[in-house]
Protein backbone atom coordinates (compact mmCIF):
# COMPACT_ATOMS: atom_id res chain seq x y z
CA UNK A 1 0.00 0.00 0.00
CA UNK A 2 2.72 2.45 0.95
CA UNK A 3 4.71 1.67 -2.16
CA UNK A 4 1.54 2.11 -4.17
CA UNK A 5 0.98 5.47 -2.56
CA UNK A 6 4.54 6.54 -3.24
CA UNK A 7 3.86 5.96 -6.93
CA UNK A 8 1.48 8.89 -6.67
CA UNK A 9 3.38 11.05 -4.21
CA UNK A 10 3.85 14.03 -6.50
CA UNK A 11 0.40 13.64 -8.02
CA UNK A 12 -1.21 13.78 -4.58
CA UNK A 13 0.97 16.71 -3.56
CA UNK A 14 0.06 18.55 -6.77
CA UNK A 15 -3.65 18.04 -6.22
CA UNK A 16 -3.27 19.32 -2.66
CA UNK A 17 -1.44 22.43 -3.88
CA UNK A 18 -3.94 23.08 -6.70
CA UNK A 19 -6.97 22.69 -4.46
CA UNK A 20 -5.44 24.67 -1.58
CA UNK A 21 -4.85 27.63 -3.88
CA UNK A 22 -8.44 27.50 -5.09
CA UNK A 23 -9.74 27.21 -1.52
CA UNK A 24 -7.66 30.23 -0.45
CA UNK A 25 -9.03 32.32 -3.33
CA UNK A 26 -12.55 31.14 -2.57
CA UNK A 27 -12.21 31.82 1.15
CA UNK A 28 -10.93 35.32 0.40
CA UNK A 29 -14.20 36.16 -1.30
CA UNK A 30 -16.46 34.16 1.01
CA UNK A 31 -14.90 34.79 4.41
CA UNK A 32 -12.47 37.63 3.82
CA UNK A 33 -9.27 35.62 4.27
CA UNK A 34 -6.27 37.72 3.36
CA UNK A 35 -3.79 35.00 2.34
CA UNK A 36 -4.51 35.00 -1.39
CA UNK A 37 -7.04 37.55 -2.66
CA UNK A 38 -8.10 37.79 -6.30
CA UNK A 39 -7.54 35.03 -8.80
CA UNK A 40 -4.86 33.55 -11.03
CA UNK A 41 -4.65 36.66 -13.23
CA UNK A 42 -3.73 38.89 -10.30
CA UNK A 43 -3.61 38.05 -6.61
CA UNK A 44 -2.81 40.05 -3.54
CA UNK A 45 -0.71 37.98 -1.13
CA UNK A 46 -1.00 38.42 2.65
CA UNK A 47 -2.42 41.89 2.09
CA UNK A 48 1.06 43.13 1.18
CA UNK A 49 2.17 42.45 -2.39
CA UNK A 50 0.77 41.32 -5.72
CA UNK A 51 1.40 38.41 -8.05
CA UNK A 52 0.36 38.88 -11.66
CA UNK A 53 0.00 36.67 -14.72
CA UNK A 54 2.73 37.80 -17.15
CA UNK A 55 0.74 36.83 -20.23
CA UNK A 56 -2.31 38.80 -19.09
CA UNK A 57 -0.09 41.82 -18.43
CA UNK A 58 1.65 41.44 -21.82
CA UNK A 59 -1.76 41.56 -23.48
CA UNK A 60 -2.73 44.64 -21.48
CA UNK A 61 0.54 46.30 -22.50
CA UNK A 62 -0.21 45.33 -26.11
CA UNK A 63 -3.42 47.37 -25.93
CA UNK A 64 -1.22 50.38 -25.23
CA UNK A 65 -2.05 50.70 -21.55
CA UNK A 66 0.54 51.59 -18.95
CA UNK A 67 0.33 49.23 -16.01
CA UNK A 68 1.00 50.09 -12.37
CA UNK A 69 4.31 49.37 -10.66
CA UNK A 70 2.65 47.02 -8.15
CA UNK A 71 1.53 44.78 -10.97
CA UNK A 72 4.88 44.94 -12.78
CA UNK A 73 6.64 43.79 -9.62
CA UNK A 74 4.07 40.99 -9.37
CA UNK A 75 4.92 39.93 -12.91
CA UNK A 76 8.62 40.02 -12.12
CA UNK A 77 8.18 37.74 -9.10
CA UNK A 78 6.23 35.23 -11.21
CA UNK A 79 8.69 35.32 -14.11
CA UNK A 80 11.64 34.78 -11.78
CA UNK A 81 9.87 32.04 -9.83
CA UNK A 82 8.75 29.98 -12.81
CA UNK A 83 11.30 31.04 -15.41
CA UNK A 84 14.43 30.72 -13.33
CA UNK A 85 13.50 28.36 -10.50
CA UNK A 86 10.64 25.89 -10.91
CA UNK A 87 10.04 25.99 -14.66
CA UNK A 88 6.62 25.50 -16.20
CA UNK A 89 5.32 24.12 -12.90
CA UNK A 90 2.34 26.51 -13.02
CA UNK A 91 0.69 24.07 -15.42
CA UNK A 92 0.98 20.96 -13.27
CA UNK A 93 1.00 22.38 -9.74
CA UNK A 94 -1.31 25.41 -9.85
CA UNK A 95 -3.61 25.44 -12.87
CA UNK A 96 -6.99 23.80 -12.17
CA UNK A 97 -7.49 22.87 -15.84
CA UNK A 98 -4.66 20.39 -15.28
CA UNK A 99 -6.96 18.25 -13.12
CA UNK A 100 -9.42 18.00 -16.01
CA UNK A 101 -6.87 17.26 -18.72
CA UNK A 102 -4.99 14.77 -16.52
CA UNK A 103 -8.26 12.91 -16.00
CA UNK A 104 -8.86 12.82 -19.74
CA UNK A 105 -5.31 11.55 -20.34
CA UNK A 106 -5.78 8.87 -17.67
CA UNK A 107 -9.04 7.65 -19.22
CA UNK A 108 -7.41 7.69 -22.63
CA UNK A 109 -4.63 5.48 -21.29
CA UNK A 110 -7.24 3.13 -19.83
CA UNK A 111 -8.63 2.76 -23.33
CA UNK A 112 -11.84 4.79 -22.98
CA UNK A 113 -10.90 7.51 -25.38
CA UNK A 114 -10.00 7.70 -29.01
CA UNK A 115 -6.73 6.06 -30.00
CA UNK A 116 -3.90 7.32 -32.16
CA UNK A 117 -5.11 10.85 -32.99
CA UNK A 118 -7.07 9.84 -36.07
CA UNK A 119 -9.12 13.01 -36.39
CA UNK A 120 -6.74 15.83 -35.76
CA UNK A 121 -3.03 16.38 -35.77
CA UNK A 122 -1.66 19.64 -34.45
CA UNK A 123 1.95 20.61 -33.89
CA UNK A 124 3.04 21.28 -30.31
CA UNK A 125 4.26 24.65 -31.54
CA UNK A 126 0.70 25.78 -32.16
CA UNK A 127 0.51 27.29 -28.67
CA UNK A 128 3.21 29.79 -29.64
CA UNK A 129 1.10 30.89 -32.60
CA UNK A 130 -1.90 31.23 -30.28
CA UNK A 131 0.30 33.33 -27.99
CA UNK A 132 1.40 35.54 -30.89
CA UNK A 133 -2.18 35.85 -32.06
CA UNK A 134 -3.30 36.80 -28.54
CA UNK A 135 -0.87 39.73 -28.55
CA UNK A 136 -1.77 40.82 -32.10
CA UNK A 137 -5.50 40.69 -31.36
CA UNK A 138 -5.00 42.60 -28.10
CA UNK A 139 -3.22 45.31 -30.06
CA UNK A 140 -5.90 45.45 -32.76
CA UNK A 141 -9.01 45.12 -30.59
CA UNK A 142 -7.86 47.18 -27.60
CA UNK A 143 -8.69 44.48 -25.08
CA UNK A 144 -6.64 41.58 -23.66
CA UNK A 145 -7.89 39.07 -26.24
CA UNK A 146 -6.99 35.74 -24.66
CA UNK A 147 -8.30 36.78 -21.26
CA UNK A 148 -11.79 36.93 -22.73
CA UNK A 149 -11.71 33.23 -23.64
CA UNK A 150 -9.08 31.90 -21.22
CA UNK A 151 -10.62 28.76 -19.63
CA UNK A 152 -8.24 29.08 -16.66
CA UNK A 153 -9.51 32.57 -15.90
CA UNK A 154 -13.15 31.65 -16.49
CA UNK A 155 -12.89 28.57 -14.26
CA UNK A 156 -11.06 30.17 -11.35
CA UNK A 157 -13.27 33.28 -11.41
CA UNK A 158 -16.35 31.13 -11.28
CA UNK A 159 -15.05 28.95 -8.47
CA UNK A 160 -14.28 32.11 -6.49
CA UNK A 161 -17.20 34.36 -7.48
CA UNK A 162 -19.99 31.92 -8.32
CA UNK A 163 -20.73 29.43 -11.04
CA UNK A 164 -21.84 30.11 -14.58
CA UNK A 165 -20.60 28.71 -17.82
CA UNK A 166 -17.28 27.22 -16.67
CA UNK A 167 -18.60 23.65 -16.37
CA UNK A 168 -19.42 23.73 -20.07
CA UNK A 169 -15.95 24.95 -20.92
CA UNK A 170 -14.34 22.26 -18.77
CA UNK A 171 -16.48 19.49 -20.30
CA UNK A 172 -15.54 20.76 -23.75
CA UNK A 173 -11.82 20.60 -22.92
CA UNK A 174 -12.25 17.18 -21.31
CA UNK A 175 -14.01 15.72 -24.35
CA UNK A 176 -11.54 17.35 -26.74
CA UNK A 177 -8.61 15.78 -24.89
CA UNK A 178 -10.32 12.41 -24.57
CA UNK A 179 -11.77 11.95 -28.03
CA UNK A 180 -10.01 14.33 -30.41
CA UNK A 181 -6.41 15.06 -29.49
CA UNK A 182 -4.17 13.55 -26.83
CA UNK A 183 -3.07 16.29 -24.39
CA UNK A 184 -4.92 18.53 -26.80
CA UNK A 185 -5.55 21.67 -24.78
CA UNK A 186 -2.59 21.93 -22.40
CA UNK A 187 -0.12 20.42 -24.85
CA UNK A 188 -1.07 22.20 -28.05
CA UNK A 189 -3.34 25.19 -27.61
CA UNK A 190 -2.95 26.94 -24.26
CA UNK A 191 -0.69 30.01 -24.67
CA UNK A 192 -0.21 30.32 -20.91
CA UNK A 193 1.66 27.01 -20.93
CA UNK A 194 3.35 28.18 -24.11
CA UNK A 195 4.55 31.33 -22.40
CA UNK A 196 5.98 29.43 -19.43
CA UNK A 197 7.62 26.95 -21.85
CA UNK A 198 9.36 29.82 -23.55
CA UNK A 199 10.82 31.30 -20.36
CA UNK A 200 11.65 28.04 -18.55
CA UNK A 201 14.69 26.87 -20.49
CA UNK A 202 17.16 28.05 -17.85
CA UNK A 203 15.31 26.94 -14.73
CA UNK A 204 17.10 25.49 -11.71
CA UNK A 205 14.69 22.65 -10.91
CA UNK A 206 14.91 19.90 -13.53
CA UNK A 207 14.21 16.20 -13.84
CA UNK A 208 17.49 14.31 -14.08
CA UNK A 209 17.98 10.95 -15.81
CA UNK A 210 20.65 8.44 -14.83
CA UNK A 211 20.83 6.29 -17.89
CA UNK A 212 22.81 3.50 -16.20
CA UNK A 213 19.75 2.63 -14.12
CA UNK A 214 17.27 3.02 -16.98
CA UNK A 215 15.92 -0.21 -18.49
CA UNK A 216 14.12 1.62 -21.29
CA UNK A 217 10.72 0.36 -20.13
CA UNK A 218 9.24 3.63 -21.34
CA UNK A 219 6.79 3.87 -18.43
CA UNK A 220 7.80 7.52 -18.12
CA UNK A 221 6.87 8.21 -21.73
CA UNK A 222 3.39 6.74 -21.31
CA UNK A 223 2.54 9.12 -18.46
CA UNK A 224 4.33 12.25 -19.69
CA UNK A 225 2.01 14.94 -21.09
CA UNK A 226 4.89 16.45 -23.09
CA UNK A 227 6.60 13.28 -24.35
CA UNK A 228 9.02 15.12 -26.62
CA UNK A 229 10.93 16.44 -23.59
CA UNK A 230 11.93 12.86 -22.65
CA UNK A 231 13.97 12.44 -25.82
CA UNK A 232 17.09 11.36 -23.94
CA UNK A 233 15.43 8.47 -22.11
CA UNK A 234 17.23 5.21 -22.92
CA UNK A 235 20.00 7.09 -24.71
CA UNK A 236 22.12 9.10 -22.33
CA UNK A 237 22.18 10.54 -18.81
CA UNK A 238 21.34 14.18 -18.33
CA UNK A 239 18.78 16.82 -17.43
CA UNK A 240 15.37 17.17 -18.99
CA UNK A 241 16.02 20.72 -20.02
CA UNK A 242 13.29 21.64 -22.52
CA UNK A 243 11.02 24.42 -21.32
CA UNK A 244 7.88 22.43 -22.09
CA UNK A 245 8.53 20.05 -19.16
CA UNK A 246 6.01 20.95 -16.46
CA UNK A 247 8.02 19.39 -13.61
CA UNK A 248 4.93 17.40 -12.68
CA UNK A 249 7.08 14.52 -11.48
CA UNK A 250 4.89 11.79 -12.95
CA UNK A 251 7.89 10.23 -14.74
CA UNK A 252 9.81 10.13 -11.48
CA UNK A 253 7.11 8.41 -9.48
CA UNK A 254 6.26 5.77 -12.09
CA UNK A 255 9.90 4.87 -12.74
CA UNK A 256 10.49 1.36 -11.31
CA UNK A 257 14.24 1.65 -11.84
CA UNK A 258 14.78 4.80 -9.78
CA UNK A 259 16.49 6.31 -12.80
CA UNK A 260 14.73 9.67 -12.62
CA UNK A 261 14.82 12.27 -9.87
CA UNK A 262 14.35 16.00 -9.31
CA UNK A 263 17.59 17.91 -9.39
CA UNK A 264 17.92 21.45 -8.09
CA UNK A 265 20.72 23.33 -9.83
Amino acid sequence: MMSNLSKYRYLILRRIVQITILVLFWGANRYGWKVLVGNLSTAKVLDSFYLADPLAVLQILATGTIISLDILIGVLIIVIFYGLITGRSFCSWVCPINIVTDSAAWLRKKGYGEKGNKYLKLPKSMRYYVLGLALILSLVLGVAAYEVINPIGITVREIVFGFGISATVLILIFLFDLFVLKNGFCGHICPVGGFYSLISKFRLLKVHLENDKCTSCMDCKTVCPEVQVLGIVGKKSGDISQGACTNCGRCIEVCEDDALRFKFF
Binding site: T42, A56, L133, V143
Partner: protein, 268 residues
Protein backbone atom coordinates in the same frame (compact mmCIF):
# COMPACT_ATOMS: atom_id res chain seq x y z
CA UNK B 1 10.02 18.21 -51.98
CA UNK B 2 11.03 14.70 -53.21
CA UNK B 3 14.42 15.24 -54.76
CA UNK B 4 15.61 18.27 -52.90
CA UNK B 5 18.24 18.67 -50.26
CA UNK B 6 16.19 18.84 -47.06
CA UNK B 7 18.47 21.43 -45.47
CA UNK B 8 17.66 23.93 -48.18
CA UNK B 9 14.24 25.45 -48.44
CA UNK B 10 13.32 26.90 -51.78
CA UNK B 11 11.71 30.28 -52.07
CA UNK B 12 8.50 28.64 -53.20
CA UNK B 13 8.34 26.37 -50.18
CA UNK B 14 9.09 29.25 -47.84
CA UNK B 15 6.27 31.22 -49.41
CA UNK B 16 3.92 28.26 -49.16
CA UNK B 17 4.88 27.86 -45.50
CA UNK B 18 4.17 31.51 -44.77
CA UNK B 19 0.85 31.40 -46.62
CA UNK B 20 -0.14 28.24 -44.77
CA UNK B 21 0.76 29.53 -41.30
CA UNK B 22 -0.72 32.94 -41.99
CA UNK B 23 -3.88 31.35 -43.32
CA UNK B 24 -4.22 29.08 -40.30
CA UNK B 25 -3.70 32.00 -37.95
CA UNK B 26 -6.43 33.92 -39.74
CA UNK B 27 -8.68 30.86 -39.56
CA UNK B 28 -8.33 30.86 -35.79
CA UNK B 29 -7.93 34.60 -35.36
CA UNK B 30 -11.03 35.84 -37.17
CA UNK B 31 -13.67 33.99 -35.14
CA UNK B 32 -11.66 34.73 -32.00
CA UNK B 33 -11.56 38.43 -32.87
CA UNK B 34 -15.26 38.37 -33.69
CA UNK B 35 -16.09 36.84 -30.31
CA UNK B 36 -13.89 39.31 -28.41
CA UNK B 37 -15.36 42.24 -30.33
CA UNK B 38 -18.90 41.04 -29.67
CA UNK B 39 -18.08 40.45 -26.01
CA UNK B 40 -16.57 43.89 -25.44
CA UNK B 41 -19.25 45.92 -27.26
CA UNK B 42 -21.54 46.04 -24.26
CA UNK B 43 -22.57 49.65 -24.25
CA UNK B 44 -25.02 49.69 -21.38
CA UNK B 45 -22.74 48.37 -18.66
CA UNK B 46 -22.46 50.22 -15.33
CA UNK B 47 -18.98 50.25 -13.81
CA UNK B 48 -17.86 50.78 -10.18
CA UNK B 49 -17.25 54.36 -8.95
CA UNK B 50 -14.06 55.97 -10.17
CA UNK B 51 -13.94 53.82 -13.31
CA UNK B 52 -12.00 55.35 -16.19
CA UNK B 53 -13.92 55.63 -19.46
CA UNK B 54 -15.19 52.36 -20.89
CA UNK B 55 -12.59 52.06 -23.66
CA UNK B 56 -9.69 52.52 -21.23
CA UNK B 57 -11.44 50.35 -18.68
CA UNK B 58 -11.59 47.25 -20.89
CA UNK B 59 -7.96 47.87 -21.86
CA UNK B 60 -6.58 48.13 -18.36
CA UNK B 61 -8.76 45.96 -16.09
CA UNK B 62 -6.82 42.79 -15.24
CA UNK B 63 -9.96 40.95 -14.08
CA UNK B 64 -8.63 40.10 -10.62
CA UNK B 65 -11.98 40.72 -8.94
CA UNK B 66 -10.47 42.32 -5.85
CA UNK B 67 -12.91 45.25 -6.13
CA UNK B 68 -15.76 42.73 -6.10
CA UNK B 69 -14.38 41.10 -2.97
CA UNK B 70 -13.97 44.45 -1.24
CA UNK B 71 -17.54 45.56 -1.96
CA UNK B 72 -19.37 45.18 1.37
CA UNK B 73 -22.83 45.08 -0.20
CA UNK B 74 -22.13 42.49 -2.93
CA UNK B 75 -23.11 45.18 -5.40
CA UNK B 76 -20.26 44.45 -7.78
CA UNK B 77 -20.21 41.28 -9.83
CA UNK B 78 -17.57 39.88 -12.15
CA UNK B 79 -18.99 39.35 -15.63
CA UNK B 80 -19.33 35.76 -16.77
CA UNK B 81 -19.49 34.83 -20.44
CA UNK B 82 -23.01 35.83 -21.48
CA UNK B 83 -23.32 38.73 -19.01
CA UNK B 84 -23.71 42.23 -20.37
CA UNK B 85 -20.08 43.20 -19.75
CA UNK B 86 -16.66 42.11 -20.96
CA UNK B 87 -15.95 38.71 -19.40
CA UNK B 88 -14.16 38.99 -16.07
CA UNK B 89 -14.71 42.73 -15.55
CA UNK B 90 -16.72 44.20 -12.65
CA UNK B 91 -20.16 45.72 -13.16
CA UNK B 92 -23.35 46.23 -11.21
CA UNK B 93 -27.09 45.94 -11.75
CA UNK B 94 -28.83 48.58 -9.58
CA UNK B 95 -32.25 46.94 -9.78
CA UNK B 96 -30.69 43.94 -7.94
CA UNK B 97 -28.21 45.73 -5.68
CA UNK B 98 -27.37 49.43 -6.11
CA UNK B 99 -24.10 51.11 -5.14
CA UNK B 100 -24.50 52.20 -1.52
CA UNK B 101 -21.88 54.94 -1.86
CA UNK B 102 -19.31 53.93 0.79
CA UNK B 103 -17.44 57.03 1.89
CA UNK B 104 -14.14 55.12 2.06
CA UNK B 105 -14.77 53.58 -1.41
CA UNK B 106 -13.06 50.21 -0.77
CA UNK B 107 -13.40 49.06 -4.40
CA UNK B 108 -11.39 52.04 -5.68
CA UNK B 109 -8.90 51.72 -2.84
CA UNK B 110 -8.27 48.07 -3.79
CA UNK B 111 -7.85 48.39 -7.56
CA UNK B 112 -4.24 47.45 -8.44
CA UNK B 113 -4.38 48.64 -12.06
CA UNK B 114 -5.80 52.19 -11.79
CA UNK B 115 -8.84 51.07 -13.79
CA UNK B 116 -10.69 52.58 -10.84
CA UNK B 117 -8.94 55.88 -10.38
CA UNK B 118 -8.77 57.62 -6.99
CA UNK B 119 -8.51 61.07 -8.60
CA UNK B 120 -11.96 60.68 -10.15
CA UNK B 121 -13.63 60.26 -6.76
CA UNK B 122 -11.53 62.58 -4.59
CA UNK B 123 -12.12 66.14 -3.48
CA UNK B 124 -10.43 69.01 -5.29
CA UNK B 125 -7.18 68.64 -3.35
CA UNK B 126 -7.06 64.91 -4.15
CA UNK B 127 -6.47 64.08 -0.51
CA UNK B 128 -9.86 62.79 0.58
CA UNK B 129 -12.41 60.51 -1.04
CA UNK B 130 -15.63 62.13 -2.16
CA UNK B 131 -18.04 59.47 -3.37
CA UNK B 132 -20.45 62.17 -4.54
CA UNK B 133 -18.07 62.85 -7.41
CA UNK B 134 -18.64 59.38 -8.84
CA UNK B 135 -20.06 59.26 -12.34
CA UNK B 136 -21.21 55.67 -12.65
CA UNK B 137 -24.16 56.68 -14.78
CA UNK B 138 -27.18 58.92 -14.67
CA UNK B 139 -30.77 58.16 -13.67
CA UNK B 140 -33.40 58.56 -16.38
CA UNK B 141 -37.15 58.76 -15.75
CA UNK B 142 -39.70 57.06 -17.97
CA UNK B 143 -42.45 59.65 -17.63
CA UNK B 144 -44.96 57.41 -19.36
CA UNK B 145 -44.83 54.81 -16.61
CA UNK B 146 -43.79 56.83 -13.57
CA UNK B 147 -46.74 56.81 -11.17
CA UNK B 148 -45.94 60.31 -9.94
CA UNK B 149 -46.42 61.57 -13.50
CA UNK B 150 -49.84 59.89 -13.52
CA UNK B 151 -50.73 61.97 -10.53
CA UNK B 152 -50.49 59.10 -8.05
CA UNK B 153 -48.50 60.05 -5.02
CA UNK B 154 -45.18 58.21 -5.01
CA UNK B 155 -41.81 59.58 -4.04
CA UNK B 156 -39.91 56.31 -3.54
CA UNK B 157 -37.00 57.33 -5.76
CA UNK B 158 -36.81 60.80 -4.25
CA UNK B 159 -36.66 59.34 -0.75
CA UNK B 160 -34.11 56.66 -1.73
CA UNK B 161 -31.70 59.12 -3.32
CA UNK B 162 -28.57 59.64 -1.18
CA UNK B 163 -28.40 63.20 -2.54
CA UNK B 164 -31.99 63.97 -1.65
CA UNK B 165 -33.32 67.22 -3.12
CA UNK B 166 -30.10 67.60 -5.10
CA UNK B 167 -29.84 64.71 -7.55
CA UNK B 168 -33.60 64.18 -7.61
CA UNK B 169 -35.96 67.08 -6.97
CA UNK B 170 -39.75 67.05 -6.85
CA UNK B 171 -41.57 69.52 -9.06
CA UNK B 172 -44.99 70.42 -7.77
CA UNK B 173 -47.67 70.89 -10.39
CA UNK B 174 -51.42 71.23 -10.36
CA UNK B 175 -53.26 68.07 -11.37
CA UNK B 176 -55.44 69.40 -14.17
CA UNK B 177 -57.42 66.16 -14.42
CA UNK B 178 -58.85 66.30 -10.91
CA UNK B 179 -58.54 70.00 -10.52
CA UNK B 180 -57.85 69.73 -6.83
CA UNK B 181 -54.73 67.63 -6.36
CA UNK B 182 -51.04 68.23 -6.67
CA UNK B 183 -48.64 66.26 -8.82
CA UNK B 184 -45.18 65.71 -7.42
CA UNK B 185 -43.04 64.91 -10.40
CA UNK B 186 -39.47 63.76 -9.80
CA UNK B 187 -36.75 65.24 -11.94
CA UNK B 188 -33.11 64.20 -12.11
CA UNK B 189 -30.30 66.72 -12.04
CA UNK B 190 -27.71 65.07 -14.26
CA UNK B 191 -24.92 67.32 -12.97
CA UNK B 192 -25.31 65.88 -9.49
CA UNK B 193 -26.63 62.35 -10.03
CA UNK B 194 -23.85 59.77 -9.49
CA UNK B 195 -25.69 56.83 -11.00
CA UNK B 196 -25.67 54.82 -7.79
CA UNK B 197 -29.06 53.38 -8.70
CA UNK B 198 -30.72 53.54 -5.30
CA UNK B 199 -33.72 55.17 -7.04
CA UNK B 200 -33.93 52.35 -9.58
CA UNK B 201 -33.72 49.85 -6.74
CA UNK B 202 -36.52 51.61 -4.87
CA UNK B 203 -38.89 52.20 -7.80
CA UNK B 204 -42.19 50.47 -7.13
CA UNK B 205 -43.29 49.77 -10.70
CA UNK B 206 -42.85 46.17 -11.85
CA UNK B 207 -40.05 47.20 -14.19
CA UNK B 208 -38.31 50.27 -12.87
CA UNK B 209 -39.56 53.55 -14.35
CA UNK B 210 -36.42 55.33 -13.17
CA UNK B 211 -33.22 53.61 -14.15
CA UNK B 212 -29.52 54.28 -14.49
CA UNK B 213 -27.86 54.46 -17.90
CA UNK B 214 -24.20 55.10 -18.69
CA UNK B 215 -23.75 58.85 -19.01
CA UNK B 216 -22.53 58.66 -22.59
CA UNK B 217 -25.73 56.80 -23.50
CA UNK B 218 -28.20 58.98 -21.61
CA UNK B 219 -26.77 62.45 -22.16
CA UNK B 220 -26.35 64.61 -25.24
CA UNK B 221 -23.44 66.91 -25.90
CA UNK B 222 -23.62 70.56 -26.91
CA UNK B 223 -21.15 71.84 -29.49
CA UNK B 224 -18.62 74.41 -28.43
CA UNK B 225 -20.28 77.30 -30.25
CA UNK B 226 -23.17 77.30 -27.77
CA UNK B 227 -22.14 78.81 -24.47
CA UNK B 228 -24.42 79.84 -21.67
CA UNK B 229 -23.54 83.52 -21.59
CA UNK B 230 -25.37 83.92 -18.31
CA UNK B 231 -23.28 81.26 -16.60
CA UNK B 232 -19.65 82.11 -15.93
CA UNK B 233 -18.84 78.47 -15.26
CA UNK B 234 -20.01 77.31 -18.65
CA UNK B 235 -17.10 78.88 -20.47
CA UNK B 236 -14.83 76.39 -18.76
CA UNK B 237 -16.19 73.78 -21.17
CA UNK B 238 -14.03 75.43 -23.81
CA UNK B 239 -10.89 75.18 -21.70
CA UNK B 240 -11.50 71.53 -21.14
CA UNK B 241 -11.60 71.04 -24.89
CA UNK B 242 -8.26 72.79 -25.26
CA UNK B 243 -9.66 75.72 -27.18
CA UNK B 244 -7.55 78.68 -26.29
CA UNK B 245 -9.01 82.12 -26.12
CA UNK B 246 -6.49 84.84 -25.55
CA UNK B 247 -8.38 87.35 -23.47
CA UNK B 248 -5.56 89.88 -23.89
CA UNK B 249 -6.27 90.10 -27.58
CA UNK B 250 -9.65 91.61 -26.86
CA UNK B 251 -8.65 95.20 -26.22
CA UNK B 252 -12.02 96.88 -26.18
CA UNK B 253 -15.12 96.01 -24.23
CA UNK B 254 -18.05 94.68 -26.24
CA UNK B 255 -19.93 97.96 -25.95
CA UNK B 256 -16.95 100.00 -27.15
CA UNK B 257 -16.51 97.66 -30.06
CA UNK B 258 -20.12 98.06 -31.16
CA UNK B 259 -20.05 101.83 -30.74
CA UNK B 260 -16.85 102.16 -32.70
CA UNK B 261 -18.10 103.35 -36.06
CA UNK B 262 -14.71 104.54 -37.22
CA UNK B 263 -13.90 101.77 -39.64
CA UNK B 264 -17.46 101.53 -40.94
CA UNK B 265 -17.53 105.11 -42.12
CA UNK B 266 -14.20 104.84 -43.72
CA UNK B 267 -14.71 104.30 -47.41
CA UNK B 268 -11.14 103.52 -48.32
Amino acid sequence: MENKDSSKISRGDLLKGIVKKGGLMMLGGLPWAAYVEENKEEEFVLRPPGAVDEKKFVESCIKCGICVEECPYDTLKLAKPGDDALTGTPFFTPRDIPCYMCTDIPCVEACPTDSLLKDLVSDDNNDKYDINKAEMGVAVIDRKNCLAYWGIRCDACYRACPLLDEAIVLNFERNKRTGKHAMMKPEVNADICTGCGMCEHACITEKASIFVLPREKALGKVNDDYIKGWDEEDESRLDSNNIYIDKNQVEKSTLDYLNDTGSLLNDE
